[in-house]
Symmetry: C2
Subunit: 225 residues, 2 copies
């Protein structure tokens, strides 16, 4: 087998330092943003020339927190199926896959040609994720409205209502932060098979720990510290 | 930099043993097919379970004929711009890019669960291309009809009419082969900046060499041997 060594062209910086809370698919949380910071070797405004004419980009990246060289498991349990049913790994977007490669389409929000950074939205990657390629999204090739999908149904997942207890108010997060946090929480970060209304969950967001509980369709943030 | 070693999960088998003639984007030549053959390590029907419910897959692969560790060039000349204008490499799908990764959406034509092969169409890869991942195409995440694209305009390239001279008739290619070959040729495999009606071009197709010339909008196959 001809293995190949690839090296990051850059990394993403965003508000989620851990996997918990990261959207399960790109595009579903437009409010979740991040900034691509190119490595010194690729930090050249010329490399981004023309990119501002595109609205979206592909990112090829790696699920860096999944253990390398884990034994190959041909099946995985997608959260969309309640975590009980096994599907072939190549029929899913699961992180537990050979080469651990991820694929994300992101909306370009801003290109900073001085710093060579690209701010994008709708991502599904955690802070520090290494990026191996950036490509423009080309609708005539990449957008296939007639494509049919299996168990994912073609419907984005249901969302929760989010409320903040008085005890969770903080002046240390900006209005934008709160919008982003609310959007992330509304997509129900719990593992699919958990439904305990008494349980307090903790999620890292920026340098904060966000505690919340979920009852029926309502998520209540009880503490941010 | 945290480099990563990736190894092929399989290879594609198709009719184009050389780069010349390979479509410049996926989807533009639906008649161009190939078969993904999984490596022994991943040759397990379980790994494909559920894939038949999807119409399309993503392939992440490598431009294997591009030299590894070539010096980074921040700009490239896209054929769509006539080969004269330079664009940032991350604003193009050019093969001459860091990590040499390619991204293709292909239509599933047939899944053979005994051999663990997947026959796909609309590809833009040459025979023997190593594949590093297969993922299902999920329309709600991947299809963005409102996406805008820069210099590619959103229009597939113009096609040529193709005719076969008497001298090019051969009984060694099947009807399907001829359909595939015609489709490939109709997309004008010439480098963008060439337009010499006298020039005879040679393209490898299966174990044949196909000679043709192009005048205005007509491509004439003069020999297949």
């Amino acid at each position: 087998m001809n293995s190949s060594t690839i090296k990051p062209i850059g990394y993403i910086k965003n508000s989620l330092p851990e996997k918990f809370g990261v959207p399960r698919q790109s595009g579903v949380i437009p409010e979740f943003t991040g900034t691509i910071v190119l490595e010194p070797e690729y930090k050249n405004p010329d490399a981004l020339r023309g990119l501002s004419d595109f609205s979206h980009i592909w990112l090829i990246w790696q699920f860096s927190e999944v253990k390398e060289n884990a034994e190959f498991s041909p099946t995985v349990r997608p959260p969309r199926l309640g975590g009980n049913e096994r599907m072939g790994v190549f029929a899913t977007r699961s992180p537990f896959r050979p080469n651990r490669l991820g694929l994300t389409v992101a909306k370009i929000e801003e290109i900073n040609e001085v710093d060579c950074t690209i701010t994008v939205s709708g991502i599904d990657m955690m802070n520090g994720t290494p990026i191996f390629d950036i490509k423009p999204y080309i609708p005539y090739a990449d957008c296939i409205p007639k494509a049919t999908s299996g168990f994912t149904n073609n419907l984005p997942p249901k969302t929760l209502n989010v409320s903040f207890d008085e005890s969770a108010k903080t002046s240390e997060l900006t209005e934008n932060d709160i919008l982003e946090l609310t959007a992330i929480l509304s997509h129900d970060p719990r593992p699919a098979y958990q439904d305990d209304p008494e349980r307090i969950y903790g999620m890292s967001f920026k340098n904060k720990n966000v505690s919340f509980k979920i009852k029926d369709e309502l998520l209540t943030v009880v503490e941010i510290k």
